[in-house]
């Protein structure tokens, strides 16, 4: 079992008011498995992923009956040990490469730096490793990208470089938080295919955070649908069309269609009961 989370709760306290942003989320992820957490903005999907890497700010109170990453209890690790995990055993890909790459360092140096943090070797070896990694993420001219600065390359290329950096320490888990939302449709498909392939060939687990239900269903095994800090339902990606929960159905039903004209789009009516059902 790669990830095992049971009853995760994340609470923020502000001016004496408590707000529970994640209320009792549980899921399991095996190696070679791909799990998507899907939800609208504010549903708590991103902070769930961040809690797993202990990347939340200090004012967030995180409790869980169980939060294991590869058998390691995340909540009881020291900060020092967490630093080894982050970017080491678990890679984290964020939405926009423009903001997650260092603008004043070349791509090659950034990947080499990531490699050196988690591997022992000379600068030369790190550079060779960086070149090799860029080849693995299917960059056509890796030598050129190696010496390029982030502003000189496109968004899709930047995201590939980010992925290369995350692959450097040979992680067993890849967490991708909206990895393609800032990219064009054609590039979106390419990047997802790349992630898909890497996860398969390297025996990694994938935790994909997204707002796009149809998109993730094409690339993942399991989908967890989150709403207001709770998981509404978890289902196999191939069964998405037969989703049972009204929230999942509503999300799928309010999309405009390319195939046929639709009049007014059905608007999602949110039932307060959805949250109560889960609470008991």
């Amino acid at each position: 079992m790669l990830v095992d989370i049971e009853n995760l709760r994340i609470t923020f306290e502000n001016n004496g008011k408590r707000f529970e942003a994640v209320s009792g989320v549980s899921f399991k992820l095996e190696a070679r498995q791909k799990l998507a957490i899907v939800g609208e903005s504010g549903s708590g999907k991103s902070i769930t992923a961040r809690a797993l890497m202990r990347l939340l700010p200090a004012q967030a109170q995180v409790t869980a009956d169980r939060m294991l990453f590869d058998g390691i209890d995340i909540l009881s690790q020291s900060e020092r040990e967490m630093r080894k995990l982050r970017g080491g055993r678990a890679g984290f890909i964020l939405q926009d490469p423009k903001y997650s790459l260092n603008p004043v360092k070349t791509i090659g140096n950034q990947i080499a730096e990531a490699w050196l943090t988690h591997n022992k070797g000379s600068k030369k070896e790190a550079r060779d490793a960086a070149l090799n990694l860029l080849e693995q993420v299917m960059i056509r001219d890796p030598q050129l990208v190696l010496n390029a600065y982030p502003h000189e390359i496109s968004g899709g290329m930047g995201q590939r470089a980010m992925i290369a950096m995350m692959l450097a320490p040979n992680p067993s888990l890849l967490i991708a938080d909206e990895p393609t939302s800032a990219l064009d449709a054609s590039v979106q498909a390419e990047i997802l295919r790349l992630i898909d392939e890497l996860v398969d060939t390297r025996d990694m687990g994938l935790l994909l955070i997204s707002h796009d239900l149809p998109l993730v269903s094409n690339f993942c095994d399991k989908v967890s649908v989150m709403y207001m800090g709770q998981i509404m339902e978890e289902l196999a990606a191939k069964d998405l069309a037969q989703a049972a929960h009204p929230y999942t159905k509503g999300l799928l039903n309010c999309l405009p269609s390319l195939d046929e004209p639709r009049g007014d789009l059905p608007v999602l009516t949110r039932d307060p009961q959805w949250l109560e059902e889960q609470a008991q």
Binding site: E40, S41, G155, D184, A185, S186, Q188, A189, H211, D212, L213, P214, L215, S217, N218, A237, K238, L240, A241, G250, L251, L252, C254, L255, P256, S257, L258, D259, E260, P261, R262, D264, L265, P266, V267, L268
Partner: protein, 250 residues
């Protein structure tokens, strides 16, 4: 024959030595909704910004209702043409109340009946009167986009230029905003030009669309033809296939 609402002939725009819009020609009759799709960097937003008068360095000809417009637009132009931007977080002044945001256009143009106009604009976008004295950060993303649309409507324009009006929104909120835009076009007799990278959104809201690639409008076709797979240009077909693949459930 009546003049089309918008008529663009051989529009060219260069940033420095690089030409990013290479001779775009299009014509939109009054009351029609025209979509522009393309990948990032294809020049679709640049065309829209030139129409709105936000970019003054273009060559070619732009006519609204038959009358050519100059690079620098007179104030009266903005009573006829208004724009709605992608990100409602970025396009509303964070320290101004909704009332102030909406009434600014009225005071600039010296229009009377401020109360009535602001209330009617809020009604048109189905926002309660109670949001009038709130600040943008107190509203949800969908409400903020409604305010942005209300601000455009307050000028009582004939043309709305929409730059990715729903891409920053959740799908459920996107549905509400698309319904609203569809209704407003009918009730206010508006003409739309909408830029989007999402084929389904364009197909939903528009009658016709133009496909842009590397600064050129490679194909113009009706949404009916698009849905019936009668697109002829390979890039259009490519975009349709992608849109289909990404939207289908497993």
């Amino acid at each position: 024959m009546t003049n089309p609402m918008i008529d663009v002939q051989d529009l060219r725009i260069a940033f420095g030595p690089k030409e990013v819009v290479k001779g775009v020609t299009l014509s939109v009759p009054a009351g029609e909704s025209f979509g522009i799709v393309g990948e990032s960097g294809s020049g679709k937003s640049t065309v829209l910004r030139a129409l709105a008068g936000l970019n003054q360095h273009w060559t070619g000809e732009i006519r609204f209702e038959g009358a050519p417009v100059a690079s620098k637009r007179p104030r009266a132009f903005f009573r006829k043409v208004q724009m709605v931007f992608q990100d409602p977080f970025g396009s509303l002044h964070p320290r101004q109340t909704i009332d102030r945001i909406l009434s600014e256009f009225l005071s600039v143009n010296g229009l009377d009946d401020v109360d009535g106009r602001v209330n009617r604009a809020l009604d048109a976008v189905a926002l309660p009167q109670s949001v009038r004295f709130r600040f943008p950060h107190q509203l949800s993303g969908g409400q903020r986009q409604r305010v942005a649309i209300a601000r455009a409507l307050i000028a009582e324009p004939k043309v709305l230029l929409l730059d990715e009006p729903t891409s920053a929104l959740d799908v459920s909120v996107q549905a509400e905003v698309l319904n609203l835009l569809g209704r407003l076009r009918k009730s206010h007799g508006l003409t739309y030009v909408m830029v989007s990278h999402n084929m389904s959104v364009v197909a939903h809201l528009c009658d016709r669309l133009g496909v842009m690639q590397h600064g050129e409008m490679v194909e113009q076709l009706s949404v009916t033809d698009l849905r019936a797979r009668r697109a002829t240009h390979p890039h259009t077909r490519e975009l349709v296939e992608l849109g289909q693949a990404l939207a289908s459930t497993a």
